[in-house]
Each structure stands twice: as C-alpha cells, then as structure tokens.
C-alpha cells in the first residue's frame, strides 16, 4: 500500500484516539513502530503504516513488538509499540528489565484497555504496570489529548531515560473528536553506545542500576506535581471535588460542570501534593477512575480521605448516568430525577456469529458431530464455536493456551475422562503468536492431542491483518510465508500425522478427525481455506433451496450459516409416536457465496445452485458427514 499524504500541521482533523496516537508518533519523528493486532488498539499501527519515512511492522506477538521497539531505542531511534491490555502481560518480561536499563531513543508503549470488554477475555487495568515497572503512565481523555500526550511521552521518555506507558481505553481508542496536529519534528538516531554495564543485564550490572530506577521514579513524581498535563478546573461548588484520569474525566466534566475537577493526564507517579491541596478546599473528594482503585488506594496511603470504589463500580465503564446518582447519594441529597425515557424493550439477543461461508463453519459443524471429545480452544473468531448451534469449544483462556491446556488435560485426566479424545483448536496467527511453544511441549512430552490448526491466512477477529502465514507484510507487500506443515514437523509432529484438509469438504474433515483422534500420538490437521473477508477468498455461485424438496429436517441449520433462514415451522409424528419439529428453509442468495457446506448434510438434496452452473455429483460422491 502506498504511503498516504498526511494532512497538514495546524489543520482541524476529525480523528479517533488511535488515529491521533499514530499522527503524534509520526510527528514525533518515530523511526520504528511495532504491534500485534488487538482490539481496541489495532488501528494505531494500521494508520501509522500508511505514513511515510518510518519503519512499521506487525510483530508475531507483543513481547517481540516491545523488543523490536527497545532495540530501536538502544540505537538511539524513537520507537513505539502498541498493544491491547492482555498484550502487555505477554510483553511484561521485557518491560520488567528494560525499566532497569532505561532507554536511549524515546520509547513509548501504548496500551489499550478494553474497559467494558467489547472484545476481550478479561478486563484489567494496565496502570498497574506503571507501579510494577516504575515507569510513568500518561492517560489521555480524548483524541486531542491522545495526540498531545503521545508527543509529550517521547520527550518525557528521553528526558528521564525511561519507557513511558500511554494508557488508552476503548473510549479513547474508538472515539472520534477534533485534533489539531502540530509541526513534525525529525529525530535522527543517536547511535549505539557499547556499554555492557548499561545494556547487559546480569546481576552484577543490574544491581547498581536498581537505585537509579528509584531515583528516576522520585524525579518523575516531582515532574508530575508540576506537570501542565494535570489540569484543575477550579469550579465554584466546593461540596465535592473530583480527581480523575482518562476518559472518565470527560464524564465528570459533563456531569458536574460547577465542581472542582483535577484531571490527571500524567497520573503515575501520582502528584500527591497537588491532590492534597485540592482536598483541603473541598467538602469531600471523589476519585473517578476506570477500572481499579489505584489512585484511591495511593491517596488513602498518603493520608488523604477520599471516596471512590465505595460509591462507584469497579466493573466496566463509568458514564455521567452512573456518576450523577452515586454522588447524589453521597451528599445524602435527593436522588436526581431520572429522565422519563421509554422503558427498555425485550428483544432477542444477537450474539456475534461466524460469517456466511466462513471456513470455520465446516470445522465446528464437524466437531459438533463428534462424541466424547474435549475441545481445548483458543482466541480468535473461532472462539465463537463455543456458541450455538455448535457448542463445540470447551475452553478459552489466553493466546496459545489451547496447546498447553490440551496436554494438561491429557496428563491429568482420570477415569471420568479416560475415553475422551482431546482436540486443540487454534488459528494460524494465534499459533505463531504463542501456540508453537505449546505444540513443542506436546510433542516432546508425548501428549495425546490432535491439533486443529485453522489457517485462514489472516488475523481474522481484528479485521484481517497480515501475519507470517499470509505471505504479506504490514503494507500488503509480498513477504516470506511460513509453511505450517513443515513448521509442525520441525516441532516434532511426525510427518504421517500432519494432514492438510479443505474445511469445506465435511466428509474428509470428519474422517481425518476420527482417524487422528484414534491414534495415541500428537497429530495436526491443518485447514487451509482463507477468511471470507480477505482478498484471497473467491466467492462462487450461490445456492438456493427447492421449496418442494425441503423436508424441514433442519440439518442445514446445524451448519450455523447466517444466510440460511427459516420460512415456516411445523411438526411431524413419526411412526414411533414421537413428534419432531420441522423447520423449512430458504437461502439468502444475495448473501450466499457458494461454499456448499449446507448442501452436504441436506438428505433430500433440496439445495441447488441458484443458477445452474455445474452438476452436484462431487457432493453426492462425497456423501454426508452425518
């Protein structure tokens, strides 16, 4: 993809928080930027990759992305890495020691917390890392602050020779607002300073650096006390004053326009004395922070009385409609009158689904037909296999965990699970992120696990980013491509136990799974159809249902494709006296892209091409998987 021409400095731009961070990084003269995709942080690198005159990459995981950024910093270049909250768990090993070495070129770690869990497996507060690693944390509240604070983070990083965390939340990343970018600065690398006492962290070198880290932290605390990024709105109603950080600050300003509000853009180390001064002027002090009571705990420890999580939830997002009644109750006043809005209506849930013709549909239809199987799952679109109608995924914890958990299930199982087959399901990108090591553990320790490696040639869930298996780099240019069969063989799986299967061929997939799970050694089944949302996918002619031929058996609905719709329902009495429900169907031919999955379990052969294009013999030959 060709580099875009950036909008001119000082022009009014309507940017998301992620876009503002990218623009700020470019304006700060960043030379290297790296990330692994993860909601809500993904767009930072997507956007930055379109700017000219810098190096950007998708890294295989967040730890590698931080190490790439650190290496660039070591040679004196400005560097940025971006990740979602759980990504910093992966990168933490590097973080906890780079804080001892410190940095050379400005190094900014942008971490996006999915507060409210729109697309994550947990909710965690990344501000803890600032305390744990003794590095400063900046917390923008909107897009303009995301721009300003990201630029400030580079200056701060070089001034104090430390990595700086910019902590975003979904409500900064995915909010668009007005931003006025400043002038771009250039920043030439200063060169590598060969200095083992600084860069080679062995005990003898690290020990003398620990006191420096704490000295740095003390200096940062002094800087936070006078920072221009900690802004006080003086207010006139002194009954309650607020200390807040991040997007919650905007909600506080909205909800309490007359109150004194101290918004902390530079929130770690906490500017305790500024807060103490505010506390002395107000009746009560309320700390408004998402999600954990970090500031609150530190204020209490410093002897500053305050309220926080005693009146506000520590779960999910805060908003004006949560803040107003909570503060009202605190003042023992009247609860504010709620607007007489229409009552909420009960509407069916609409959980995310797998796409029309998604290759994972074939995998989960097949898994749903297997009995006595434990399915160790992983993180990606295919986690949706846990849902209806498949119910064919039994665990999901963290990136790559399907491997180790499957091995642990195998080694730990008792009589109750002795007859079960253990299957691990993992996507291509998740496998390369953190699954490969788990597979090596399985082969080395002779685990009895069948791995389904779903290679759809992209990072699907985050919107189709490239990875080492797609054969393209972050710009869409050709890049070396991993051969998963060879990789698995190199990790110790015997060549005979590695199969490539087309997930649209249900009988073949079913047979492969049945055979491999019967053999007591590690095996890998690689499915090799691309994600339907990327350019590699080629739609084929749509199918339709011959209305008169449909018997209402509903087998096709078990595939779970969103293009299959029920037209009418009925009931039928079997000779045995048993009454079965019938569901007659049609296919939305505008949505169908002809994968043929639903054709295969259709016993009466009622599903045919909407326009006659080819005989159905290939499907008849293969028969039905059920």
């Amino acid at each position: 993809m060709a580099a875009a021409t950036p909008a001119p400095a000082h022009s009014r731009q309507f940017l998301s928080g992620n876009e503002a961070v990218a623009r700020a990084a470019w304006d700060a003269g960043v030379r290297v930027a790296a990330a692994y995709p993860g909601t809500p942080s993904t767009e930072i690198l997507e956007v930055l990759a379109r700017y000219p005159d810098l190096y950007t990459e998708w890294s295989v995981n967040e730890k590698v992305s931080l190490e790439v950024a650190l290496g660039a910093s070591m040679v004196g270049a400005r560097a940025l890495c971006a990740m979602k909250h759980v990504g910093l768990n992966v990168a933490a090993d590097a973080l906890m020691t780079l804080t001892v070495t410190g940095v050379e070129g400005g190094l900014v770690i942008v971490v996006a917390d999915d507060v409210g869990m729109s697309s994550s497996q947990n909710e965690q507060d990344s501000r803890y890392w600032g305390r744990f690693a003794h590095v400063p944390v900046l917390e923008p509240a909107d897009s303009q602050e995301a721009y300003t604070l990201t630029r400030a983070a580079f200056a701060l990083s070089e001034q104090f020779q430390t990595a700086v965390i910019v902590r975003l939340t979904t409500r900064v990343c995915h909010v668009k607002g007005l931003v006025t970018p400043g002038e771009r600065e250039t920043h030439a690398p200063t060169g590598f300073d060969k200095n083992p006492a600084r860069w080679v962290m062995v005990p003898g070198h690290a020990k003398p650096r620990l006191p420096l880290m704490f000295e740095r932290e003390a200096a940062l605390r002094a800087a936070a006390e006078v920072s221009e990024f900690n802004v006080l709105d003086a207010g006139s109603d002194m009954r309650v004053g607020f200390v807040t950080a991040g997007p919650a600050g905007m909600h506080v300003l909205d909800a309490f326009p007359d109150a004194p509000v101290l918004r902390l853009g530079f929130s770690c180390p906490v500017p305790i004395e500024r807060i103490r001064a505010l506390a002395a002027t107000v009746g009560r002090l309320v700390v408004v922070e998402e999600t954990e009571p970090l500031l609150e705990t530190e204020l209490r420890a410093a002897g500053i009385a305050c309220h926080g999580k005693d009146i506000l939830t520590r779960l999910g997002e805060l908003s004006p409609d949560i803040l107003k009644p909570a503060v009202s109750r605190l003042l023992a006043g009247e609860a504010p009158e709620l607007p007489a809005s229409p009552p909420a209506q009960t509407v069916f849930p609409r959980p995310p689904t797998l796409c029309v013709a998604c290759p994972h549909l074939g995998v989960y239809y097949t898994l749903s037909q297997l009995r006595n199987v434990l399915i160790s799952g992983d993180i990606g679109c295919y986690t949706l296999g846990a849902g209806h109608p498949w119910n064919a995924l039994d665990t999901c914890i963290s990136m790559g965990a399907s491997m180790g958990m499957a091995l642990g299930m195998d080694k730990g199982r008792g009589a109750q699970d002795a007859n079960k087959k253990i299957v691990a399901v993992i996507g291509d990108s998740t496998f390369m992120h953190m699954g490969m090591q788990g597979l090596l553990d399985i082969t080395w320790n002779r685990g009895n696990v069948t791995v389904l490696l779903l290679d759809n040639r992209t990072v699907g869930m985050t919107g189709g980013q490239d990875n080492p298996g797609s054969g393209r780099d972050i710009h869409g240019n050709e890049a070396p491509r991993v051969d998963f069969a060879q990789l698995c063989e190199a990790l110790g799986v015997r060549r005979e136990r590695i199969r490539k299967v087309d997930p649209y061929e249900l009988p073949t997939l079913f047979k492969a799974l049945r055979e491999e799970t019967k053999i007591d050694e590690p095996s890998v089944i690689i499915t090799d159809r691309p994600c339907v949302l990327i350019g590699d996918y080629k739609p084929t002619p749509a199918y339709r249902v011959i209305d008169d031929a449909c018997t209402g058996c509903g087998n096709c609905l078990d595939v779970g494709c969103p293009a299959i719709h029920v037209t009418r329902r009925g009931q039928q009495s079997k000779p045995s006296g048993k009454v079965v429900d019938l569901a007659f169907v049609r296919i939305d031919t505008a949505a169908c892209t002809g994968c043929g999955l639903c054709v295969q379990p259709c016993a009466p052969e009622a599903i045919v091409h909407a326009q006659r294009v080819q005989p159905l013999s290939f499907i008849r030959q293969n028969g039905s998987a059920t």
């Binding site: 309507f14 909601t39 809500p40 999915d114 409210g116 869990m117 729109s118 697309s119 994550s120 909107d142 979904t170 409500r171 995915h174 909010v175 668009k176 607002g177 007005l178 997007p247 905007m250 909600h251 300003l253 909205d254 909800a255 908003s319 004006p320 409609d321 709620l338 607007p339 007489a340 809005s341 229409p342 009552p343 909420a344 209506q345 509407v347 069916f348 849930p349 609409r350 959980p351 995310p352 689904t353 797998l354 796409c355 679109c381 949706l384 209806h388 109608p389 869930m461 609905l557 779970g560 494709c561 969103p562 299959i564 719709h565 029920v566 329902r569 429900d581 569901a583 169907v585 505008a590």
Partner: protein
C-alpha cells in the same frame, strides 16, 4: 449557535454501514463548525452482532456517550435493532427506522422469536416513528449497499440544520473516493427523503 447538544444514536448490525453513516452525519456537523464526538460499541460487530454509534454535536462536547433517555433521534438500520434501543430516547423523541429485517441464526434455530411488529411496538411507546423500507429501495436501485444512503436521505429532514448539508456531506464523500457511485447515491438519498415524507403523510 446555542449551547444545546444534539444526540443522535444510530443502530444496526455489523456490516450494514452504521459506522459509515454516522461518520457522514459527523462530517456534515463538522462542516457547519460544531464540536463533534462520535463513538461506537462495535467490538465483535463484524460478526453479525449489534452495533450502535453515538453522535453528539454542539458548541462543546465533553463526554462522547449518549446517556439513556437523552437521545434526540434514533436511526435504526434494522427494525428489531431500533426497538432494542428505544430506552435511549428522550420522551417524545423521533425514531427513523428501516423496516427491513435481518434474522440471526439464533432466531432461525427457534431459540428466540423475532418480534411480530417492532415498528408498531415503538409507536405504542408514544415516540414519533417514521418507518421506511430502505432495504427494498436499495434493492430497486440495484445495490443493497445503497441502503445506508437511503437511510441518510430519510434522516436529512430531522436534523437541526438544513437538509442540503447532509446531502452535500454524502456526495462529497463519494465525489472524493468513488466518483462512479456519486449518481446512485444521489438517487438513493432522494428516494430516502421521499420515502420518509410519504411515511409521514400516511395515516
């Protein structure tokens, strides 16, 4: 310009163009000099899930989120989705919705029911509801993706600025990015505007 903030909630399903439509509404408000914030809850929306996009504009906008009971206008790209979000509206507010239905697998499997008459249910709550079949209009125009612009045409007369401003924002977007789609979108916008006028005059 008054201090009042206009709150518009746009809802639908991943892939329908909810976020793009809200983006165009935002561009129209920006062109008029308003402060604007726009936010989405769309984590896994690409997978057929629920999408809402909040748009707030006025002299100065702080919080980007519309609180329940404070939306002035609800734009529904799908009938049941409009019904799902009515509690976000202030009393007597306006709902503009597509009557087109997207039935998810969870309903097709028989586990849940699609409401019989979502538009009637909304009207029974005392809200001003204007329902048009944007899906059918888009299909008539030859491209289902035009449904998005049909809905914007329907919205144009319900904004605190002249109708032409929104049309200009729509056309500017296509003139810049996909000029070949300019004329179909001009038509789609006009059809949406006409359809909502017809819905308003019908008993």
């Amino acid at each position: 310009m008054s201090d009042a903030i206009t709150n518009i909630l746009v809802c639908g399903i991943g892939g329908q163009g909810v976020m793009t439509a809200t983006e165009i509404l935002a561009e129209a408000a920006l062109a008029l000099g308003f402060d604007v914030k726009k936010t989405e809850v769309a984590g896994m929306s690409q997978r057929g899930g629920v999408v809402t996009s909040h748009l707030r504009f006025g002299a100065r906008v702080l919080s980007p989120q519309i609180a329940p009971g404070e939306a002035d206008l609800l734009v529904g790209f799908e009938a049941a989705e409009a019904l799902r979000w009515v509690h976000m509206l202030r009393p007597g507010a306006t709902v503009l919705t597509n009557v087109g239905r997207i039935v998810p697998p969870i309903v097709n499997s028989g586990r849940f029911d699609y409401p019989d008459d979502p538009v009637g249910q909304i009207a029974a709550l005392g809200l001003n509801v204007h329902a048009i079949d944007a899906t059918a209009i888009a299909r008539e125009l030859g491209d289902i993706r035009l449904g998005n612009t049909v809905m914007l045409g329907a919205v144009a007369g319900h904004l605190p600025f002249p109708e032409g401003e929104l049309e200009q924002a729509v056309l500017a977007r296509f003139a810049q990015r996909k000029p070949q789609l300019l004329e179909p979108n001009r038509q789609a916008f006009a059809r949406g505007r006409a359809a909502v006028a017809a819905a308003r005059t019908s008993p």
